[in-house]
Amino acid sequence: MPVYETAGSPPIWRRRNRNQALAHWAMWLTGTAIFVYCWMQISGATTWFFVWDAPRIAGDIWDRATPPRWEYITQLGRPIWDTLNIATLGTIIALCFAVPVAFLAARNTTPSRYIVRPIALLIIVSTRSINSLIWALLLIAIIGPGVFAGVVAIAIRSIGFCAKLLYEAIEEIDETQVEAITATGASRWQVMAYGIVPQILPAFAGIAVFRWDINIRESTVLGLVGAGGIGLQLNASLNVLAWPQVSLILLVILAAVVISEWVSAKVRGAII
């Protein structure tokens, strides 16, 4: 906490000394410069004529999209069912893989710290870094479009997410409980079943429901790239500029998101 003394005036207190202040300003300056550069790039790639015209276009779209074409909902039953299945089955499959990966990745349960653990962490980071839409694109190229590709895409994307949260929960368990079970002469698997699993079960349930909620959201848009669910209808309607159908689908998606969030909040409340 620097205090400057100048001749003839009382000492002045400053929050930072001169070097700190300079570094601080340099940091802000660099940050601002980077931001301005980014903005210039974006602005350079933008056709500003369209942007000035945007309010009119937005109004135009709004006029076309309202009122939604309510009777179209009769055709959405199957897509909604598919969407639900993509999310649910995807989550279940992901959990089946995430559990072993998490045990291999957690410092206190991994069989080998220098070989298996890095591989498990690599699985986690690579499945997690790539969005489910990209996984869907990839899977459609491999196994063809459809609901199945959507299920697998959601499952792969969720493995890393669930395994990461789960292995953090495993690393936080109370080791003395594990020690106590080990001291009874229990085998490795029994230690797992009695010492570790009961401790992480609440976290596991919470993670499963949390991810299911996210997966409902993600599975509504997978259809945009052809991986089944209600997104297919959205894409089809957008392609023919059937705005009243688009607005109805968006309302349905919104409802699905709200309901799934409500369900997951309820279930999590019941567990904890």
Binding site: W39, T46, D82, N85, V125, L137, I143, L224, I253, V257
Partner: protein, 277 residues
């Protein structure tokens, strides 16, 4: 003493030889069965209604294997210019959107915290947060592309909008759970509202705000990779083209770059979070 021990022993005698089973989570037997049967029925129905063309999947295995091989020999060179431009655009969108999104999130987050904002402000800010959270990035991007035309501006606006919902909500929750005594101490010194926020609230929530901002930067980058699919700029368009042309080695190269950048960002945010705490 003797009567009580007699009593407990009768209880013990009754229990000896009886089977013991773990108490069930759901007490009523019928309800337990209904839940199980319901679950199994749903799963069977769900699996049966998924059309799977197994011959197509079988053919796909070969392509899948080629993709795995492509990961071993990614091709960064052939489309180097496309990849570089796309990546740069993604990064630019990410940075710009994160800065703007965070800047807007702070006032909205303050407004959405019940303990410091008046009720009308609170309702409006919570409304903004709810709308932003309910709408998916990709859907927002579609609408914004329709309105503003193709290009990174739509992507930038999408990511900024999504950042607001994410960050404001978490910031508001953090402010609501902060230590009241510290804030009251500042208020009791006669500080104005701005001074109160600056001295009483900001120091408490700043470390977490920085941590969350880094996390959001990471999410924004990952999301920016898909915005290109709907024409909102970034690497997504290049990636989509690579898949369409079955150029798995180029696609693999892009995915590897994304993974490496995400890992780098995670490492960086770990460092920064360790420093501010």
């Amino acid at each position: 003493m003797s009567t009580s021990s007699l009593h407990t022993h009768r209880e013990l005698d009754d229990m000896l030889g009886t089977r013991w089973r773990k108490p069930k989570l759901v007490k009523q037997t019928w309800l337990r069965w209904v839940l199980w049967i319901g679950l199994v029925t749903y799963l069977i129905a769900a699996v049966l209604t998924i059309p799977v063309d197994w011959s197509r999947v079988y053919e796909g295995l070969d392509r899948g294997w080629q993709f795995v091989l492509a990961f071993m020999t990614p091709d960064f060179v052939t489309r180097a210019a496309d990849i570089r431009d796309g990546m740069l655009e993604s990064i630019i969108m990410t940075i710009a959107a994160s800065v703007v999104g965070i800047a807007i999130s702070i006032p909205i987050g303050l407004g959405a915290a019940r303990n410091i904002a008046p009720l009308p402000v609170y309702m409006i800010c919570r409304g903004i947060v709810a709308v932003s959270r309910a709408l998916q990035e990709i859907i927002v991007a579609i609408l914004l592309v329709a309105i503003f035309g193709f290009g990174p501006l739509a992507g930038f606006l999408t990511l900024s909008f999504a950042t607001i919902g994410f960050l404001s909500k978490l910031l508001a929750e953090d402010i609501e759970s902060m230590d009241r005594v510290q804030a009251e101490a500042i208020r009791s010194s006669g500080a104005s509202w701005m001074q109160w926020i600056n001295y009483g609230v900001q120091p408490q929530v700043m470390p977490r705000l920085i941590g969350l901002s880094m996390y959001r930067l990471d999410i924004n980058f990952r999301e920016s990779a898909i915005l290109g699919l709907v024409g909102a700029g970034g690497i997504g368009a290049t990636l989509n083209t690579a898949f369409d042309r079955y150029e798995y080695d180029t696609a693999a190269a892009i995915l590897i770059i994304i993974i490496v950048i995400v890992m780098g960002l995670e490492y960086l945010s770990g460092l920064i979070r360790a420093r501010v705490q």
